[in-house]
Amino acid sequence: MMPDQPKYKTSDEVDFVIVGSGAAGGILAKELSTNGFRVVVLEQGPYLTEADFTHNEVKVFNQDLLTNHPKLQPTSVRKTPDEKASPKRALVYGRMVGGTSVHFTANFWRFHEIDFIERSKIGPIAGTTFADWPITYADLEPYYTKVDWEIGVSGLAGSSPFDPPRSKPYPMPPLPTKCSGVIFEQAARKLGWHPFPAPMAILSQARPGRSACINCGFCLGFGCEVGAKSSSLATAIRAAEKTGRCEIRPNSYVHRIELDANGRATGAVYFDEQRNVHLQKAKAVIVSANGAETPRLLLLSANKQFPDGLANSSGLVGKNLMFNSAAISLAVFDHPLNDYKGFAVSRVFHDFYELDPQKVGFYGGGGLDARFDATPVSFAMGGLPPGTPRWGKGFKDALAHNFTRTMEIFCHGTSLPVETNSFSLDPDLKDAWGLPALRLTYKDHPDDLKLAHWLNDRALELLEAAGAQKKWSQPIEEQQFGVHLLGTCRMGNDPKTSVINSDHRTHDVKNLFLCDGSSLVTSGRGQPTMTIEALAFRAADRITAMAKRGDLA
């Protein structure tokens, strides 16, 4: 049930309309309403709460209870711009109040210093638009700390020798160590690596109105029924509502940003649940709809003044998409781990965060984590070793033996920005509202695939050192599906090579701001949500200062 909120009229010009209520939108809503502004958040998905969450895998995965729905919102996929895209599911994102932060794994690494300045260190890479950020880790550090303390991150400062500097320790200790974490830690240390307790956006200690994690085991993909996962829903949205100045308007599907004759944004046009169209007027518009829907909204908002899409003078809206490279190895051990108990990840290491291209022969770096994130039905579908029968006694015996004895090592790595990797509007395919559907164009840079293989070899080394009874890897293939949606409206100082400036303001429209995964210039080594949230806290400070000095009018 939705808590009490102000109800603004659509004709009432509020200070800010924010499109999207996820990791970034939720924090912007909280910060701006706390700073005295009147805010309307338009969220395309429903307002679900803890009482609506379930452990039913069919509802959550097959029926997309919490996520974008392929029937309502079909997508198409291709590898290169000269191909015709075919209808296929291209992405999963959270489609509800709280967005993807509701159902994510909650792995919460900060980016490191190198992520912001790596282009300067490495030099140009052929076939990419590899660039430095216009801000540094030091600019973002206070906001990372704000995320730690205000949103709630558990972890142990100083436990990784590769961690960037921090101004404050974590507000609470790490979550318990799972068996996968113990196995990972012991084997990694045997190999001379430096495992450490995973920083997680999951409470190890209760906070007002939120329980500490109860280790129920339905975490990745699911909404947390006790508020332990630090989603925007459980944190920032609730705080925004308490200000009495923020209205969260669910089931509101924004499909156009309206401009006046002077090229100034006047509000957001949306379908309500009955598909009536409204314009919510606002002094400024902030789009935090995720790295796919944010560029789509700008492209859908094309008009005479901006025929190629709003804020798209650079031509880069939707481009430079990065998914993060990934590889997964699994193993079965002699004794039960019972790793289904608890959250997903309890140990990580960052020894290979920054590989030397001269030594390995490709650009990249990453982190490895120990996890088990498969719920029973999903496990039976994809968690058994290759060669296991798919039905019959052999299948049943493998399920009975392996479910409690399996763990995974997930390798998370860089993706290079390639201009043709993009989300654009499909010329033919339409969504259930008759609007052009998202079209994915994606072909991994060869270095991303080399990195995935290299990291995966380390995962297999680790599982060997750990004495696994059996180990195997997922095939490493070109990605045609994404959940990390990064870089599609990148930040930069030069309007020719970026869409927003370092204050998240679009270069082309003075009172239009973008803040979400689309803002990222590089991909980090996975785990983008922590950085998206730090950016949102920082953007809120910058936007507040601009509004207070009258710079938005």
Binding site: T54, V58, F61, N62, Q63, V92, G158, S159, P164, P165, R166, S167, P169, P174, P176, T177, K178, C179, G181, V182, I183, F196, I214, N215, C216, I328, L330, P336, L337, N338, D339, Y340, K341, G342, A374, T375, P376, V377, F379, A380, M381, G382, G383, L384, P385, P386, G387, R390, W391, G392, F395, K396, L399, F403, T404, E408, S473, Q474, P475, F481
Partner: protein, 220 residues
């Protein structure tokens, strides 16, 4: 009149006399499915079929019993998978109705082709049944993770295989088999909260200790 007899009548209803004779000879297996279906409904009323005819239900029950067979431990049959699938085809799997409508006659044709003396899958021996199913699906696990969300099965056998797995392993407290037979088999405890130690490898774990010389970069 016992409720068992009521259910028996229910299953026989609508069957041809030949089928009725066949059903009566296979009664123990059906009784098992029916009993569990009753328990799952927590009612003494006969289990209700919404999509399958009783005759089809007998076939589906036999198929699920080869996908997750009964041996020393219960399988899909004891978990009343046939009733779960029947309900699924009226709810979340309504789009798969056609797959079942077309798939069942194809299966029965294959049964007859392979064993000319038989017309029904459920009339074959377990060994014969497995032979028939291998002719539909001789694949092994690819080890690929999480196809559950992305992969929509097209073939009848694959659809049925996925539905049987769901029937067997869906959270018993969130819409799955209320007896939790599948969870029991895989060792998934039914509790909603857990405390460490969780398993064998963390029970003597001393806790995280920093390596010598490791520095804390926190400045506070």
């Amino acid at each position: 009149m016992t409720s068992d007899l009521t259910r028996r009548n229910f299953l026989l209803q609508g069957c041809s006399s030949i089928t009725a004779i066949w059903v009566s000879t296979h009664w123990p297996a059906l009784l098992s499915a029916a009993r569990h279906a009753r328990e799952s409904a927590q009612s003494s009323a006969a289990p209700k079929l919404d999509f399958f005819t009783p005759e089809q239900a007998v076939e589906i029950d036999a198929l699920t019993a080869r996908i997750i067979p009964t041996d020393q431990t219960p399988g899909a049959r004891e978990a009343s998978a046939v009733y779960f699938i029947d309900r699924a085809l009226m709810t979340f799997a309504v789009d798969d109705q056609k797959t079942y409508r077309e798939g069942l006659p194809e299966l029965q044709a294959r049964v007859h082709e392979t064993f000319p003396s038989l017309d029904k899958f459920s009339a074959a021996t377990p060994e014969q049944q497995d032979q028939i199913l291998h002719s539909f699906d001789d694949q092994e696990q690819t080890g690929r993770r999480r196809p559950f969300r992305q992969g929509n099965a097209k073939s009848f056998f694959e659809t049925l295989r996925i539905h049987t797995i769901i029937a067997f392993l869906l959270d018993p407290d969130a819409g799955g088999d209320p007896q939790g037979l599948g969870w029991k088999l895989i060792g998934r405890e039914r509790a909603h909260t857990f405390q460490p130690p969780f398993g064998y490898y963390d029970k003597d774990y001393p806790g995280w200790q920093s390596l010598p010389g490791q520095t804390d970069k926190t400045r506070s």
